[in-house]
């Protein structure tokens, strides 16, 4: 039982990272109907901003996190302005491929900065742990969970009460109609990318503060948020959070039990278990758990 609870706890913490990343995807999707494959690069850069802030500016963790969020948001806006804005109105799949180009280019600059060695952001209290009921969790992961909860709450408020939130969604549905309502489409795009960049930076900072830190291959983590957004529904904020946590949980529980329960699934099945979960969810709900159903009428 302790093993199970511990794995749930671990999954929850890891799932928070996925949830933050998933929220970033959802933000961009909500405003542009594009899946941004540049999210991994934004995460890596965010982590490196925090690294730079702690190691060069010698800031403590929390101020460094703020710096990273701001820098990440600016970077997101920059990317939108340079690479995506010229493409307004073009097919979304072309845009998706462009974001892949952005990802490649950004990550190379990041890699250049990193070099082959891992980079790590020190978290206050380092490896201190909180122990209860035979379970244990590091302070760093606890901080992650709290930060995620706060961020999610803030975003949900934004979309519920701010008219900008609605304007953003309207932009995604139909740019021309949105323009005709006086919505500044470009601003909406920039805003979405800024938020996504900031979210990715939070995720990146916490990734860099964990284990072996940030290195050239760490970006792959960001792809795990893809099944998360499908599970939750591409355009749903609660969906992204629940999807992200679900992916984290499935991954950690599968890692513990699958080798004994279903060894025939092979080594490391935990890595693809989120995709299996995604297939299951879609069998029942083609738009994910909370996704908006596309209206089709003739």
């Amino acid at each position: 039982m302790t093993t199970f609870l511990q794995s749930v706890l671990n999954g929850f913490a890891q799932g928070s990272i996925y949830a933050l990343l998933a929220l970033g995807y959802v933000m961009i999707y909500k405003a542009t109907h594009v899946i941004s494959f540049a999210q991994p690069a934004l995460m890596v850069c965010g982590g490196l901003f925090a690294y730079h802030a702690t190691s060069v500016f010698e800031l403590p963790f929390w101020p460094a996190l703020i710096v990273a969020i701001i820098a990440g948001a600016l970077l997101g806006m920059l990317v939108e302005r340079l690479a995506l804005r010229p493409m307004v109105g073009k097919p979304v799949f072309t845009l998706a491929i462009i974001t892949i180009g952005v990802d490649i280019v950004l990550r190379i600059f990041a890699n250049r900065y990193m070099g082959p060695d891992p980079r790590s952001v020190p978290y206050p209290g380092g490896s201190n742990r909180l122990e209860f009921w035979g379970l244990s969790i590091s302070h760093q992961r606890l901080g992650l969970i709290v930060v995620t909860a706060v961020t999610v709450a803030a975003l949900a408020m934004f979309f519920r009460y701010a008219k900008t939130g609605l304007a953003m969604r309207a932009t995604a549905l139909n740019q021309e109609t949105a323009l005709a309502q006086g919505i500044r489409v470009g601003t909406m795009f920039a805003l979405a990318w800024a938020i996504a960049g900031g979210l990715a930076a939070i995720a990146g900072t916490f990734v860099a503060a964990t284990g072996a830190g940030m290195e050239q291959n760490t970006w792959i983590i960001a792809l795990k948020a893809l099944p998360a957004i499908i599970i939750g529904g591409l355009d749903s904020i609660p969906g992204a959070v629940i999807g992200g946590l679900a992916v984290g949980l499935v991954e950690s529980i599968t890692a513990v039990y699958q080798p004994d329960v279903a060894p025939w699934l092979g080594n490391n099945f935990a890595l693809v278990a989120p995709y299996a979960l995604m297939f299951l969810v879609l069998l029942v709900k083609p738009y994910g758990l909370f996704g908006t159903k596309e209206v089709e009428r003739v």
């Binding site: 139909n174 109609t177 309502q181 159903k293 209206v295 089709e296």
Partner: protein, 259 residues
């Protein structure tokens, strides 16, 4: 007062669609714009409201002035903010939004009083109130048209461009829309009305323009247009002539004003 001078519009760098259109919409009036399918009416409206570039279109000549201020260089949001609202052709509601969300988006540029604005729209179109929580995409055609108009009204535009508001509406609703346009106008909104339903448009407009092939070919007070024989022939249909479609011969007629 909205004036258009000598406007030329080109799509995709090559397709010349407007060839020097001039017209003016005096303040407080309803002006009707008629023309066959493909004459360029929608294009003209896009040029007015800054929606050309999204269609790869471009103003290559001429100018548009609102209250003597040139606005053809503005982008769409700025034009809306300047008080020019447009109801797009073909309804274009946000299908995935509820009725109410659509109206809220319509009020994007409105400063304060969003709730009242929406309430006013509900008074004009009671059906929308009944359906306020429904997904807009599942409304009937007519309901969607009402929603599109309502959405534009929430922003309280000074000048409202209406692109074929009667399209696909039942006669009763057309009459209702007609009344609403008059009502809006009486409250001080200037209206430029693009219509195929010429009877309806000319019956409420003070002035009318007829476009063909990207040019204004006729420009007369509405009453005169209503009496014009050619206009009756081509835009009003057989109307009161009381002959059956069965008796109309299959021959191609020519528009006299084009020769």
């Amino acid at each position: 007062m909205l004036t258009v001078k000598n406007l030329e519009v080109v799509y995709n760098d090559v397709i010349l669609v407007l060839r020097g259109v001039s017209l003016s919409v005096p303040e407080g009036q309803i002006v009707a714009l008629l023309g066959a399918n493909g004459a360029g009416k929608t294009t003209l409206l896009r040029a007015l409201s800054g929606l050309l570039d999204i269609h790869d279109g471009e103003i290559t000549k001429g100018e548009v002035r609102l209250r003597d201020q040139p606005i053809h260089t503005f982008d769409a949001p700025k034009i809306v903010a300047a008080g020019l609202g447009q109801v797009l052709e073909g309804r274009r509601v946000f299908s995935e939004f509820t009725v109410e969300e659509n109206l809220r988006v319509g009020g994007h540029t409105r400063r304060g009083g969003l709730a009242e604005g929406i309430e006013e729209v509900y008074e004009l179109f009671p059906v929308l109130k009944e359906r306020r929580k429904n997904t807009a995409g599942y409304l009937s055609g007519g309901e969607q048209q009402m929603l599109a108009m309502g959405r534009a009204l929430v922003a309280q535009p000074e000048i409202l461009l209406l692109d074929e508001p009667s399209l696909g509406l039942a006669p009763r609703i057309v009459a209702q829309i007609k009344d609403i346009i008059v009502q809006i106008n009486e409250r001080g909104t200037t209206v430029l009305l693009v219509e195929q339903n010429a009877t309806m448009a000319l019956s409420i407009a003070q002035h009318g323009y007829v476009m063909e092939h990207g040019k204004v070919v006729m420009d007369k007070p509405a009453a005169e247009l209503l009496d014009d024989e050619d206009i009756r022939d081509f835009y009003l249909g057989r109307g009161d002539l009381a002959t059956s479609y069965r008796d109309i011969k299959h021959y191609k007629r020519r528009k006299r004003w084009l020769s």
